[in-house]
């Protein structure tokens, strides 16, 4: 087990290094420089900024400096937010996105799975069609429309929740739903398919032949096996949600990470874009690692040997 973890750790580090390297050179190959967009800056000032941030040094030199810092966990300084390190920006925004993501998950995961189970068990009945309807809506309605609709209905019209911002519990409800609905729909669809797949398995027939009733079969034989394919996709899904989304954060004016992702690329804030990419990559790798461990707990067949 220890050996396995060590091996995974090394592979993870290599993955992150590759990600950082590719992103570094790709970003640098984009036309323009970070200071061009600021209309106010004269060419001379731009040049001063460029040399201040060391952007005029040979690219490979910058690359190794960056890597050196990265190894120490230092993502560098933002080119746009004066005097602010990427680390501090992440430290400030990530908890907000993560909290929103966790709330969305807490809402979507149980309901999505439950709807999937109900739909599969009541296949072809009203409950099934309802769940499929929810799934189709959740998957096909984009979050900016869902977000706006929720905002209009529950804040503007009904006045139950604040329209926007992030200042307390009541502020989190609508964005969590807007963000969780797509996830809920995806989970419903996956869980339904997975449950139906398991229903036709021979061991379910064995369980029935033992005289177990529906409830016992679902709980002790179907659910766990039906969860297996779900767990595999859960890693990236969760990582994505926790990282925040630009759209929902924009609509509800939430100071999360999502905004920075988009802005940093638009404004060629190299260090910021790179830092976020590396951070997201590391997060994704960690999530997948955890998923694999959890998978081993659920499925004895692939449990890691010592």
């Amino acid at each position: 087990m220890l050996k396995y973890i060590l091996k995974r750790l090394i592979i993870s580090l290599i993955t992150i290094w590759l990600l950082a390297t590719v992103s570094f050179f790709l970003l640098r190959s984009l036309p323009g420089n970070p200071f061009q967009t600021e209309v106010l800056l004269s060419a001379e000032v731009q040049q001063r900024m460029i040399s201040y941030y060391g952007l005029d040094r040979p690219l490979y030199e910058q690359y190794f400096t960056y890597l050196g810092n990265l190894v120490q966990g230092d993502l560098g300084y933002s080119l746009k937010y004066v005097n602010r390190s990427v680390n501090s920006i992440i430290a400030e925004s990530f908890p907000v996105s993560a909290e929103l993501g966790l709330r969305a998950l807490a809402f979507a995961l149980p309901i999505g799975l439950a709807l999937g189970v109900v739909a599969a068990r009541r296949r072809g009945k009203a409950a099934d069609y309802m769940s499929v309807l929810v799934a189709v809506i959740g998957i096909s309605v984009p979050s900016f429309i869902m977000g706006t609709l929720l905002q209009y209905g529950f804040s503007v019209k009904l006045g139950w929740f604040p329209v926007a911002q992030w200042k307390g519990w009541e502020y989190t409800v609508l964005p969590s739903i807007a963000m969780g609905l797509g996830l809920l729909a995806t989970l419903t669809r996956l869980m339904r398919a997975s449950m139906l797949e398991v229903t036709t398995q021979d061991y379910i027939k064995t369980a029935r032949a033992k005289g177990l009733n529906e409830r016992q079969i679902v709980w002790s034989h179907q659910l766990r096996n039906a969860m297996l394919p779900i767990v595999t996709v859960l890693g990236p899904l969760v990582a994505n949600v926790l990282m925040g989304t630009f759209v929902v954060e924009q609509i509800f004016a939430i100071p999360g990470l999502g905004m920075h992702f988009v802005q940093s690329v638009q404004s060629l804030d190299y260090t910021m874009a790179l830092g976020l990419t590396v951070f997201f990559g590391a997060f994704l790798v960690a999530a997948n690692f955890i998923v694999d461990l959890v998978y081993g707990v659920i499925d004895p067949r692939i449990r890691v040997a010592d």
Binding site: A209, K210, S220, R224, R301
Partner: protein, 343 residues
């Protein structure tokens, strides 16, 4: 002989988009206490559908029990509710399946898979249930039963898994064991071991067995009585001796000719019955076997033959047995009897 199971005129169809698949068309057979009845027949003849109906395991819809009685100890269980059937399954009637690789839950320890049934049917503490499960494992010949309780199905070979399945099936002393091709998926050595185990358990526990197979060699080794199925009907039934030494139905002849010589010295090539089984969406109006039968007469295509009584319980559904039918010579059948084979 006391009948423990008596199936009368069982008729089961599947409602599909293509139409009604008449999988089982008026099947009658019975099982005496403590005996082994083999149901043989080609793929698609309705063997699995028949015994799954007995267990009430077919999903309805698409399956539909159109007609028939299933008398278990004299009570018609075809009329039972799902709740009543649950009490019966695994307790009075048990079942094992063809593929031991997929019949066990891959994510549950086998110990628990055995205990589950025990705890469902008997008022035992989990400690007692555990003891019973361990006892069952050693009874079916699993070494180190105690430590093997904690293992998962993938850690066992196919033969071992089928033993576990048998342990599950017999854990509550079922009086009837329905075995749907229990050895088809196993290699020859495993096959022989499992069959021997079933025979032993039948002796010690007195379990009556319905054994489904299309392997006449297995039948010779196991069966007290035999029912031959074709096209959703039982075309011939009788004791093992009757079926092996005095078969009456051309389909049975074909089956016996396709049986490999058990001494391995046969000079003759195995023959197969030419043609393919009927489409159960549109079963022929006459005898289902007519299209492939070398002795087919005009009436065979027009009218389904009734069941003719030959002696006692030996019956066959073939127009050749009609008094007015021409006498035909049965082809030469090679039987080579296994040790402990046809009794």
């Amino acid at each position: 002989m006391e009948k423990i199971l008596d199936v009368q005129q069982l008729t089961v169809s599947f409602d599909t988009y293509a139409g009604e698949v008449q999988a089982v068309r008026g099947v009658s057979f019975h099982l005496n206490k403590g005996e082994t009845l083999a149901i043989v027949g080609e793929s698609g003849s309705g063997k699995s559908v028949t015994i799954q109906s007995v267990m009430g395991l077919l999903p309805t819809p698409p399956a539909r029990l159109k007609q028939g009685k299933i008398l278990f100890k004299g009570v018609d269980i075809a009329q039972y509710s799902e709740k009543q059937m649950e009490k019966l399954r695994g307790k009075e009637i048990s079942m094992i399946f063809q593929d031991p690789m997929t019949s066990l839950n891959p994510t549950m320890k086998i110990g628990r898979q055995i205990m589950e049934g025990i705890q469902k049917h008997e008022k035992l503490s989990s400690k007692e249930a555990r003891a019973r499960a361990i006892e069952m494992l050693s009874m079916v010949g699993i070494p180190n039963p105690e430590s093997n309780m904690e293992r998962y199905p993938h850690q066992f070979s196919g033969g071992m898994r089928q033993r576990v399945m048998i342990a599950i099936a017999l854990a509550c002393n079922s009086q009837v064991l329905l075995a749907d091709e229990p050895t088809t998926a196993l290699d020859v050595t495993m096959q022989a071991q499992i069959l021997q185990l079933m025979n032993e358990l039948k002796q010690t526990l007195g379990t009556a067995i319905v054994l489904i197979t299309h392997d006449m060699g297995v039948v010779a080794h196991m069966a007290d009585r035999i029912a031959v199925m074709y096209g959703g009907c039982i075309v011939e039934s009788g004791t093992a001796e009757e079926i092996f030494y005095d078969p009456k139905h051309p389909y049975t002849w074909g089956l016996l000719q396709s049986m490999p010589s058990l001494t391995g010295k046969s000079s003759k090539r195995l023959s197969v019955i030419p043609g393919s089984p009927p489409d159960m969406l549109m079963p022929p109006k006459g005898c289902a076997f007519a299209a492939r039968c070398g002795y087919c007469m005009h009436i065979c295509q027009e009218e389904a033959p009734p069941s003719f009584n030959i002696v006692d319980q030996h019956q066959a559904a073939c127009w050749l047995l009609d008094p007015s039918a021409p006498k035909v010579e049965r082809p030469h059948l090679q039987h080579i009897v296994m040790d402990g084979g046809v009794r």
